[in-house]
């Protein structure tokens, strides 16, 4: 079952940025991040299911990756800043333990 929910990000498509300021990315991915130690209402152990990897690509080149463990909270949140040198395509990709994935593409425009 795909547990990925909505992908919240502060950037809209065709985001304009200045070279010296960079681009601040704030993202939250809806996912329950079951640790494997939790129980449901009927007392059954819930299988482990976490987002394993989050990859950020700029023009198909990987610039940032995060390997997540069970210690990341439900609905993982990340805030970081990138400094693209030119107008480019930002792609954020994440995948969980059962190979369900979610991705978002945003065009960044240099002004």
């Amino acid at each position: 079952m795909n547990l990925f929910g909505k992908f919240f990000i502060n950037l809209k498509n065709n985001h304009k940025f200045k070279l010296e300021d960079g681009v601040r990315i704030k993202m939250m991915i809806k996912h329950p991040m079951h640790t494997g130690n939790q129980y449901d209402n009927q007392g059954k152990l819930i299988n482990k299911n976490i987002i394993q990897k989050i990859i950020i690509q700029l023009n198909s080149i990987e610039i940032f990756s995060a390997s997540l463990g069970t210690g990341v909270s439900k609905d993982p949140f990340f805030e970081l800043k990138i400094f693209p040198s030119e107008s480019s395509t930002l792609k954020i990709f994440c995948e969980d333990e059962f190979n369900n994935s979610s991705e978002k593409k945003i065009e960044l425009i240099k002004t």
Partner: protein, 145 residues
């Protein structure tokens, strides 16, 4: 017999020399030992290059906001990998970040903690580790809820 307020005043004056002292030295030693065990081939560097920002006390261990900050004067140091550990969690490695030079080291995220403990930040550069740790106390644990 002294009044209650006077007794409190005398007690606080007696405790004044200990204010701000690190009463958690044992825990901090444990944090260093943990890093040495995890990275036996790396050299621990005492330079303050990266800093971990985390709350002193949180209500629930399910959502603990943390921030990784690189000091501006040491901005030229590039980290191959940045790792966050919570030694008392069932799986101590919380998250690891790999990045290129086009990404700032200042990262914010949220973690889960199973108990009040030191959160350890380790930044890997060639054969050395820059580190920082902060103790965070919880009112309710987070990992198995």
């Amino acid at each position: 017999m002294l009044s209650f307020s006077k007794r409190i005043l005398i007690k606080s004056l007696l405790l004044l020399p200990f204010y701000g002292r690190n009463s958690l030295a044992k825990d901090n030693d444990e944090a260093l030992k943990f890093l040495i065990n995890e990275f036996p081939n790396y050299k621990l560097s005492k330079d303050k290059v990266i800093r971990l920002k985390s709350p002193l006390l949180v209500d629930s261990g399910n959502y603990v906001p943390v921030e990784i900050i690189q000091f501006k004067k040491n901005n030229s140091i590039f980290f191959e990998k940045i790792l966050l550990f919570a030694p008392k969690n069932p799986n101590p490695l919380l998250v690891s970040f790999s990045m290129t030079k086009g990404v700032s080291t200042n990262i914010k995220t949220r973690i889960r903690l199973s108990d009040s403990q030191n959160i350890i930040l380790a930044g890997l550069v060639h054969n050395s580790i820059f580190y920082d740790y902060k103790k965070t106390d919880l009112l309710t644990p987070g990992c198995d809820v």
